[in-house]
């Protein structure tokens, strides 16, 4: 490519409620701009992690550069930055938005505006992005583009009169979207003659190249050999390679300048030197100010992660370190459990985030993990006046030292069609929700407002919500603050021994129910031993539920015919193999999946 004119660059993202077709539109844009031929198109090229494709959601922000021949005869460079749609990943959305100048808002022609549509639009406007709406799925029989246009104008206040009516799935009217990207989204500002000022919005660890930093240049330029400095960490590097993003690959180039989106490598070995959100500048001619920081987020959900095989502890540490590089919102610190040995206390944005990290550790790093029950951050006020933030139930001080405890509360907004208002309100009541009010968005849809304790929604609230509304409800929440609450620590005793990894904090009113379910579940998971094993749930030393795993009495392989010894040995091996995946607690062997089963207590 010849000289790039800054006014012909468009940096944008696509925002949408989950399932409204964001990834499909991204695919179409990449396809129509001719970066790939139709034959090369894989389904959803942007989602290149296996996990993303299986779950149909976008986890990591990704960027791609394509070239568009516009109707005005000019060639434009599109930098499309993909953003996740799930509420757990608001932080990632905010990082991606900071690298853009505009956003395409995709709204489903049948469903209209949903909770996350609003959340994402506000986030985009917060970042001063130019937003224009696109109405997708107009091929659906239930599509009502005119109604949705009205909704967009009434609720968000965006002009939707010339919003492209498209079907990303069928490739209908995609040209209109491309033209509007050119006409409605501003070209990036900045000058290549100024000192370098670039925002890191993502990064990736590559075993050969070291850390690959993804950035957007606001001012100045960068090329191979440029001495750059990370403003927050102070680390200085010589740039080895710069380039931009093809579809799923890195394409090196000579130089990147103001307004451009790309990557650099600089033999960066220490992942901590390149903090996402940091500003890159010239080491010898630094810019006067770092760029405004990212929205800082704190992990909301914590759990313990332990290697199934204790010897893999260093591997788990390395894997977490590398994942953290890709995922700035992941938190971890070492901890030790009596039951599970050495592991880490990890913090996540939400339960989905937790599951995704767990699966990535298992798939990408081949680790076998034991995960403890997730919990939130509680505030424990001690009688001494000291306040501690509790992320691990085992660290709860003795009850005599506790004055009172607080738990995090969220403000939740649930968008639901009117027929499901009853069941959803019931669900919120069960989860200790406080009803704040209800607004009718239109005749058939209402927005329910509740305050809910975070620890009631981290388990399976999403699933329950979906099943009780046949998938129609959508949910968004933000942390409101902490409130005093009657919380107790529920302990599990197996064969009279407390298993620290199974303890959790629960509201006093739910303790009995949870304890009972927990005992039942463990009874199913723990195999029979040579002796009887009592399983007890206790609060403050008082047993509130009990189950018993009976002693093993008969386990005979009676028949062994025709001298087929190999088959018999296989059966014995299977029996022995099963034991390997056990954790020894006292003289009881507990299968690893028992520790996980507490995650699924509410499975009906």
């Amino acid at each position: 490519m010849a000289v790039i004119n800054q006014s012909n660059i468009r940096n944008f993202c696509i925002i949408a409620h989950i399932d409204h077709g964001k990834s499909t539109l991204a695919d179409r844009i990449i396809e129509k701009t001719g970066l790939l031929t139709s034959r090369e198109m894989q389904e959803q090229v942007l989602d290149n992690m296996d996990l993303e494709r299986e779950r149909g959601i976008t986890i990591k922000s990704q960027a791609v550069r394509t070239i568009y021949q516009a109707k005005d005869g000019e060639e434009y460079i599109f930098n499309l930055i993909d953003t996740p749609g799930h509420v757990d990943f608001n932080y990632e959305v905010s990082r991606a938005l900071a690298a853009c100048d505009g956003a395409v808002l995709v709204v489903d022609a049948a469903q209209g505006i949903e909770a996350q549509t609003l959340a994402n639009v506000y986030l985009a406007l917060d970042h001063d992005l130019e937003v224009f709406p696109v109405i997708n799925k107009i091929d659906l029989p239930s599509a009502e583009p005119e109604r949705v246009k009205e909704e967009i104008e009434d609720i968000i206040g965006l002009d939707a009169s010339d919003a492209p009516l498209i079907s990303a799935k069928n490739g209908l009217n995609i040209e209109d979207v491309l033209e509007q990207i050119v006409t409605k989204i501003p070209a990036p500002g900045g000058s290549m003659d100024n000192p370098l000022q670039a925002l890191i919005f993502d990064s990736l660890y590559d075993p050969y190249k070291g850390v690959i930093v993804f950035f957007r240049i606001m001012e100045g330029k960068v090329q191979k050999g440029t001495k750059v400095k990370m403003m927050a960490t102070g680390a200085v590097f010589d740039v080895v390679e710069v380039g931009y993003f093809g579809a799923g690959q890195f394409i090196p180039c000579e130089e990147l300048s103001a307004g451009m989106v790309g990557y650099l490598t600089a033999s960066i070995k220490n992942v901590k030197d390149t903090r996402v959100g940091d500003t890159i500048t010239n080491a010898d001619r630094p810019c006067s100010q770092p760029l405004p920081g990212y929205k800082k987020v704190n992990p909301m959900v914590y759990c313990g992660m332990y290697p199934a095989d204790g010897a893999k502890y260093p591997d788990l540490r390395d894997a977490l370190e590398k994942l953290q590089l890709n995922d700035a919102s992941l938190f971890y610190e070492p901890e030790t459990s009596i039951a599970l040995g050495f592991g880490f206390r990890c913090g996540f944005l939400g339960l989905l985030h937790l599951e995704i990290i767990q699966e990535r550790l298992e798939r990408e790093y081949n680790l076998d993990l034991v995960t403890t029950a997730p919990g939130v951050v509680y505030r424990v006020h001690k009688t001494s006046g000291e306040m501690i933030e509790l992320t691990n139930p085992s660290n709860l001080p003795d009850p005599s030292e506790i004055d009172y405890m607080e738990e995090p509360i969220v403000s939740a907004e649930i968008m639901v069609t009117t027929e499901f208002i009853g069941p959803i309100m019931e669900l919120c009541q069960e989860r200790r929700g406080r009803y704040l009010g209800m607004e009718y968005m239109e005749e058939t849809r209402a927005l329910l407002k509740y305050e809910l304790p975070l620890n009631e929604i981290i388990y399976d609230f999403f699933d329950a919500l979906k099943s009780r509304s046949r998938g129609y409800a959508s949910f968004d929440y933000e942390i409101k603050g902490y409130e005093q609450s009657e919380l107790v620590k529920l302990d599990i005793l197996i064969n009279k021994e407390e298993v620290d990894a199974l303890s959790f904090i629960v509201h006093k009113a739910s303790a009995y129910e949870r304890g009972r379910k927990m005992c039942e579940k463990l009874k199913d998971e723990i195999p029979r031993h040579l002796f009887e094993i009592p399983i007890q749930a206790a609060v403050g030393g008082k047993v509130i539920a009990r189950e018993t795993v009976k002693a093993m009495r008969k386990d005979v392989l009676a028949k062994c015919y025709g001298g087929d010894i190999t088959r018999k040995k296989k059966l014995l091996e299977k029996q022995k193999e099963g034991k390997k995946r056990m954790r020894q607690i006292g003289n009881v062997e507990i299968p690893q999946k028992a520790f996980m089963s507490v995650l699924k207590l509410d499975d009906k």
Binding site: L530, K554, D564, T566, L571, K576
Partner: protein, 430 residues
């Protein structure tokens, strides 16, 4: 371990067991996962030719062996005609050196036998007959999908005695669908009173790939409590199980407690009739233990002939193919061969030999000998299994005799034999 007197020539040769598999039956029983299927007469005739060819071809490699036991298993070997059996027997005697007092067993099923056939098999050289009765209760037999009644069996049993069989085994199964403890004891008593020399008493195992698996898989979990047992639900009639009208319902499996009582009382009852237990599932009158099966537990060499048959020769294990067409292609005439139908060939490492020595030998009531272990492997048993032995002794699953030589399972160890025997598997060296 010699139990019979050998002629001087036989004494220097290694003992060998022959197993011949007959993979045919009249009808597949509902619980059966053995390699067996109904077949047309022509198929059986072709198979017999192939088997004879295999005998001739393989025998040459066993010149330094003397055959001590022969076992016809199946399937239903009594589906072979007397003349087919005669030809096979003749070929065995021609090709191998067979001990004068060799134990030669044939499995058979009531419903396939008559007096003429019994006489014929006896004359062909079969000296031990195994009858697959399973139960003395006709309703239970029907639930298993068996083709015979108890009275069919009685007729065959008496016929066998008359035909000259002085060594008879009866196969029985407990924990059958619809079986009560009383029903099981009744079966045992009826059979014990007939006085066969040997009784095999197995528990029904719900095997994958059988109609029983489809029906009872979720009930077989021994951890399930009695109230959760299923199987009594009426069966949908529109579902085709291949047995249609003959299988009107699927009775429930006995619950765990009842099954355990059946199992516990078997030994006591049979003892009162003069049977001693010499292996987990096998009982015999004095001197009538099945030598062939003991060979499996003691790891003497055996050669498997016929489809799917397993072999152990000089610490090498293998199986014949279970593909009938492939088997017959290789052994279709006596001159062919060269190709092998062997599958899963495995040369046992020393560690594997030690594992087998333990987990097979301990199935026998007399247990294993520490001296013999050291003699075979050149290393003391405690050096290999010390901690395991101590733990199992502490848990009262294993006991050593006063002389410190023999080791055997305690009664509780027998009950939990899977658990105990699995302890003797050694970690793989990496």
């Amino acid at each position: 371990m010699s139990e019979t007197i050998l002629s001087p020539a036989e004494a220097v040769k290694r003992p060998l067991g022959l197993y011949l598999h007959i993979p045919f039956c009249k009808r597949k029983c509902l619980y059966c996962d053995f390699l067996s299927a109904p077949a047309a007469n022509g198929v059986i005739a072709d198979y017999v030719e192939a088997l004879i060819a295999q005998i001739s071809q393989e025998a040459a490699q066993y010149r330094d062996y003397v055959v001590r036991t022969v076992f016809f298993g199946g399937g239903t070997p009594s589906l072979l005609s007397v003349s087919q059996m005669e030809r096979i027997m003749k070929r065995i005697f021609m090709s191998f050196e067979v001990a004068k007092d060799a134990e030669i067993t044939m499995e058979s099923n009531p419903g396939t036998l008559d007096f003429e056939a019994l006489k014929g098999y006896r004359n062909a050289g079969i000296n031990r007959l195994s009858l697959g009765l399973q139960s003395a209760c006709d309703a239970e037999l029907q639930a298993l999908g068996r083709i015979h009644s108890y009275s069919d069996f009685l007729e065959n049993f008496h016929g066998a005695r008359e035909a000259g069989f002085t060594n008879i085994n009866v196969d029985l199964m407990s924990a059958l669908p619809g079986q009560s403890l009383a029903g099981w004891l009744d079966t045992l008593k009826k059979v014990a009173e007939l006085g066969p020399e040997h009784i095999s008493a197995y528990s029904l195992i719900i095997e994958e790939g059988t109609p029983f698996w489809e029906r009872y898989r979720d009930c077989g979990d021994s951890r399930k409590e009695s109230e959760e047992r299923c199987g009594s639900r009426p069966r949908q009639h529109d579902q085709n199980d291949g047995f249609g009208e003959k299988q009107p319902h699927w009775p429930a499996l006995p619950d765990e407690d009842e099954e355990r009582l059946m199992y516990e009382q078997t030994e006591t009852l049979l003892q009162s009739y003069g049977y001693h237990r010499y292996e987990i599932s096998n009982y015999a009158k004095a001197g009538k233990e099945c030598l062939h099966n003991k060979g499996y537990w003691r790891r003497t060499d055996y050669l498997g002939l016929g489809l799917g048959a397993a072999s152990l020769v000089k610490n090498m294990r293998w199986k014949m193919t279970d593909d009938l067409e492939a088997y017959q292609k290789v052994f279709h005439t006596e001159k062919s061969g060269r190709q092998s139908c062997r599958e899963d060939v495995q040369v046992l490492t020393k560690a594997e030999q030690m594992e087998e020595f333990m987990f097979l030998g301990l199935r026998l009531t007399e247990g294993i000998s520490a001296e013999e272990f050291e003699k075979q492997f050149g290393i003391g048993i405690r050096k290999v299994y010390g901690p395991v032995l101590d733990r199992l002794k502490k848990d009262e699953l294993l006991t050593g005799l006063a002389d410190g030589n023999m080791l055997k399972l305690t009664p509780r160890g027998v009950d939990l034999s899977n658990y105990v025997l699995a302890q003797f598997l050694l970690e793989e060296e990496e």
